[in-house]
Amino acid sequence: MTPTDPRLLVHAYLDGELDPAHALEIERQLADDPALAAERERVEALRRAIAEQLPREGAPPGLARRIEAAIGLRPVSAPARSSSRPSWRALAASVAVAAFLGSSATWLALSPGPADADRVVANHMRALMATQPVDVGSSDRHTVKPWFNGRIPEAPRVVDLAGAGFPLVGGRIDVVGRAPVATLVYRHRQHLISLSEVPGRTIAAPERQIAGYNIVSWTDDGVAYWAVSDVAAADLDAFAKAFRAAEPER
């Protein structure tokens, strides 16, 4: 795979999947390269044709009923009659109400996860949209680590993971639970990984995914670590493993 191939990236660009830096780069190349611009037009034409000619169709009429019957949601023989058992729509509505009231512990699993997880994901999203995902940009940990001096109470743990395929991009200050915390940014192929270090907090129930972002969290020496990224879950696990295994150079 050559992810930097502009002929590949133009697809991701049209799908709105590129981060701002790569999107700008592609726009520059589109302006300079007529062949690439023609490819973009063909891809756009294809996507338009598919959208117009192959509209999404609904499920076939009896399918939902058959499935409801198969799992016992509805008596097989009386599909239309308002039976003693509520239809799935009514059930769904009651579920929504129950979840809203928070009255039934069974449904708590559906409610949003722990606040810190939401915050680190929001910080990561915000960083991706900003002109720069970092306040201090450097692949040298001896530049990144001192930058945090005086900005936050405790210097973060910064390790070099370039050898493991996760070069350091830099660092920034995020806010988690009203406190400024150090967030390191690493890169894996086209993707950024935000690693927030939150001292003195515990991780209640580890979330694995929020809003499509994968999350890996762990606690070392009283510091809660949150890694957030759109890399595959396995890659993020590998990152966490590499970070935790790295020499705690200080």
């Binding site: 002929r7 590949l8 756009e44 294809l46 939902a64 499935i67 769904a92 929504a96």
Partner: protein
């Protein structure tokens, strides 16, 4: 997790699975190529989803269901169209070989058809061209361009890295462009009214 409380399971199934039935059916239809077979696959997938509803994380119901549907469709393909799955393995091998040899990932095809010609492709032609795509390309293209999932969701459903989603999508589109942009469809005997 056993279903200690089957009423709860049923309610959860109703709120998690049933809203995405149309998407489930669409994916099954594109994978099996047949409406009746797609219904069977979706029904089987829904039973699996119901049994596994306790394991659903509560994050992305659509991607979760589509993952199960895809799995059920692959099981179905293995039983009924094993040839198309043999091709998947070959394709992956070719893809990996090309990937490891570096460049040429997306060599320009011999023809570069006009965008205007592509835009005029009709439904039957598009469907036929998509149906000809090898399964990994087809499912990636359908999930993105027909069903509107983002790369991250497609990666989750098809269990490959996002980079692979991007390259499969690019290849699928390139193949379609070449098929549609080269004038007459291969099965021209059937064409016309």
């Amino acid at each position: 997790m056993g279903s200690l409380n089957s009423e709860d399971d049923q309610a959860r199934f109703a709120s998690v699975v049933l809203p995405h039935l149309a998407d489930a059916y669409a994916l099954a239809r594109w994978l099996t190529g047949d409406r009746a077979d797609a219904e069977d696959v979706v029904q089987e997938a829904c039973l699996r989803a119901f049994r596994g509803i306790g394991g659903f994380s509560g994050v992305n119901a659509r991607a979760w269901l589509l993952t199960i549907v895809r799995h059920a469709a692959y099981t179905w393909l293995g039983k009924n169209r094993s040839a198309s799955l043999v091709m998947v393995d070959d394709l992956e091998a070719v893809e990996q070989k090309q990937a490891s040899s570096g460049g040429g990932a997306l060599e320009q095809g011999p023809q570069t058809p006009e965008a205007a010609l592509i835009a005029k492709a009709d439904a039957r032609r598009l469907e036929a061209a998509i149906a000809e795509l090898p399964v990994p390309f087809r499912e990636t293209l359908v999930l993105r361009d027909v069903q509107g999932l983002d790369y991250r969701e497609i990666a989750e459903v098809t269990k490959v890295p996002i980079g692979t989603v991007m390259s499969r999508l690019a290849r699928a589109r390139r193949r379609l462009i070449e098929r549609i942009g080269t004038g007459e469809p291969r099965g021209r005997a059937r064409g016309g009214a």
